[in-house]
Symmetry: C2
Subunit: 177 residues, 2 copies
């Protein structure tokens, strides 16, 4: 369209600092502000809380869907976690392939990959074969190098200072949740 390249981007927010899910939330709301449709898939239960969910509820363009992956994160239940991850990814892959929306947020997918609960190869394959205009935003610490290589845009959020660890201050409403 007049020299304007309409290319869906793969965007990764990773690192140990705060702001990864918050940046994805901001990106979803910005897209919705343009009238774009956004699907947010949560790979880990409970990472989105009331303030965020209440904000999202005001946007009919945005659907948020838990993938039901209540991981145990216990060594003895590793097989169970892998099954949950595979099921969650199957849902995400289907949504990416259908391409019914303009942006898909795969919230906390990185950590699932980092723990080896999901192999990287099929994820990269689905991303690479996605509908051309679809933006995919992937959050979570520990994004594997192969995903960084495949991404168009990567920001690492580095925790320079964090009050909840450093100073024993309780999590604050409107900031932490």
């Amino acid at each position: 369209v007049g020299g304007f390249v309409q290319k869906g981007l793969v965007i990764v927010f990773t690192g140990n600092g705060k702001g990864k899910t918050t940046a994805a939330l901001g990106m979803a709301l910005r897209a919705a502000g343009h009238g774009m449709r956004v699907l947010i898939l949560q790979f880990i239960k409970g990472s989105w809380r009331y303030g965020e969910l209440d904000a999202l509820a005001r946007f009919p363009e945005i659907e948020i869907r838990p993938l039901g992956t209540g991981f145990t994160w216990k060594k003895e239940s590793l097989d169970e976690d892998r099954v949950l991850a595979e099921q969650g990814w199957a849902g995400a892959a289907g949504a990416i392939q259908r391409g019914e929306v303009d942006m898909i947020v795969l919230d906390e997918l990185n950590i699932v990959l980092a723990y080896g609960l999901l192999p990287l190869a099929p994820v990269l394959q689905v991303l690479s074969a996605r509908p051309p205009g679809l933006h995919v935003v992937i959050t979570g610490r520990g994004a594997p190098q192969g995903l960084l290589d495949a991404a168009d845009l990567v920001t690492e959020m580095q925790a320079v200072k964090h009050p909840y660890h450093d100073q024993g201050i309780a999590a604050q409403k409107g900031v932490e949740f």
Copy 2:
């Protein structure tokens, strides 16, 4: 309130990567989702675009106010830029001191400080004397060390990869603006 420390935090998003203003936007919307009142003060014109402004327009809890600092960023107009910065800061300081809202976002203040258009000392003084429950979120690359020291939470967004620089891809609607 039952062991829950209600302390307003000073939060800094800095670094060269994408996601600083987006994280602040997400934080504002999350706070608004809790019914908290948010004031966004823009130190640099034009850093918030249509998608974001349209999203914000759905939140009566959020007010966004340009401080009118159309900096010239030219060496020969340094004095003019300093006057604009001082005027902008006077407005921000007043808003912080009045404490009529629960969260104030000082968008791109860091860059104004980094360019030396505003001295750091009065900024730190106003932050330190703010109403105790007020959260202040400060964005922009180049946050000075003194501000990092005074902040409760600092995240540095590091650009690991950026398509607009690296690959000559045009900025994308819903992602970049």
